[in-house]
């Protein structure tokens, strides 16, 4: 049914019209309401996991782990945007998988002891992913994949998914100062990586306005 396409874009998921009511029902143990919510946001969760992990299978695993954790924790849900809550859980699940992978280095994954470990270079364009995707997004995702893992995680959580410093620190189990530094250095590094496509990038963003 689905080709093994690791990154097919989907419009950013907007909240459901009856989301508050669905959340209330899910909190009180309604499995159907929970399923509806998770189904609605699964592309958001998968997208986050894919950007953190860079691998379609691991991203799918992380999203599913997150849904299990969310189901266990839904009774303790206390307000806020459901999407943000679910994305925080997805970030935790992804980070768990990322850390396990770094603890058990393979030939494609350098040792993490320097703290600046890079994932394998995933910047090679994926032909299937290119279709229907704007040049800007393609280059941005490619540049994100070339960031050092720590910086990529911080920038993805903060700038792509709108988490604040505290939420990023919580998801990555890092100190606030460390997180700030990673985000700021990551932005600067990303700008260098996007240098080749600067014109495209500046033009497209300006056109968007």
């Amino acid at each position: 049914m689905h080709p093994p396409d690791p990154a097919r874009p989907a419009a950013r998921t907007a909240p459901l019209p009856d989301e508050d009511e669905l959340v209330a029902r899910a909190v009180s143990g309604d499995r159907g309401a929970f399923t509806q919510l998770v189904e609605h946001y699964q592309s958001a969760c998968y997208g986050l996991a894919w950007r953190l992990l860079g691998d379609p299978d691991q991203a799918a695993d992380a999203a599913q782990d997150a849904f299990v954790h969310a189901y266990d924790a839904i009774a303790k849900y206390r307000g806020g945007l459901f999407r943000s809550w679910l994305l925080r859980i997805t970030a935790n699940a992804s980070y768990d998988i990322l850390r396990r992978a770094q603890r058990r280095p393979t030939t494609t994954l350098p040792d993490a002891e320097e703290g600046e470990a890079e994932l394998p270079d995933l910047s090679a364009p994926d032909p299937a992913a290119e279709a229907g995707r704007s040049e800007l997004y393609r280059h941005l995702d490619a540049a994100l994949r070339r960031l050092p893992a720590d910086q990529r995680t911080a920038v993805v959580l903060c700038d792509v998914y709108g988490m604040d410093y505290g939420e990023v620190a919580g998801a990555t189990e890092s100190a606030l100062g460390t997180v700030k530094s990673r985000i700021h250095r990551g932005r600067l590094r990303l700008r260098e990586l996007m240098a080749e496509h600067r014109e495209l990038f500046l033009n497209e963003v300006r056109l968007d306005r």
């Binding site: 874009p9 299978d57 932005r187 990038f201």
Partner: protein, 236 residues
Amino acid sequence: MTMPNAFHPDDERLAAYAGGDADAVSDRALIDHLATCDRCAPLVEELGLLRSALATLPDLLPSRPLRLIPPVPAAAPDRAGPLGWLRRLAAPAMAAGAGLVLVGAVGMSGVVESFSGMASAPDPAALEGQASSEGAAESVSPPAGEEFLRSHSPALGPTTGAASGSPRSQDNASSAAPSVKATASEPEASRDEGGTTAQVTREGNGEEPWLTVLIAGAALFAVSSALRLSLTPRAG
């Protein structure tokens, strides 16, 4: 305003400002610098645009269908399957079989014969009555009770032949049989079991009916325990 360019803020500070970092955007010196610096102001603008682009990156469709919700743990009765009711009958059937073995053993030991006919005759019948009524509550008694009655009706005759109480007890036994049968809805395996032992009784020995009771009880016990074992759901 020529001086500030000699003291550019750290680039990380500019990146913080571009991201709306609360501390950076309230930094008076930084704001003043950006107002005049030809190097830093464009950099901050570019970083800001980069950031807005990141914030609009699309969601991604999963590479495979995702499991959205953990499965409900299957309830125990479901796992027992359609034969669960048969399994529940097995335990009482085993008890009834064990009871028959006991009755048969007691009978064979000759303890019964050491008493007078009058006293002895109702004794095993009462014992059996207990066993079968216990079984009936679980609706398993039919095979056990039937076997016992079939094999024992002839036995009661010889042992209590001269006794005045014998007609009465035999009456009870024979009248009990149909009523037990009426409520019977026995499993096929047990029915077969009952049939064969009844045959053995008729063809075999009228002289040693206790042996038949013992064998029948042992057989019932073995069949029902095998049934129970084979129908017990496997873990996992």
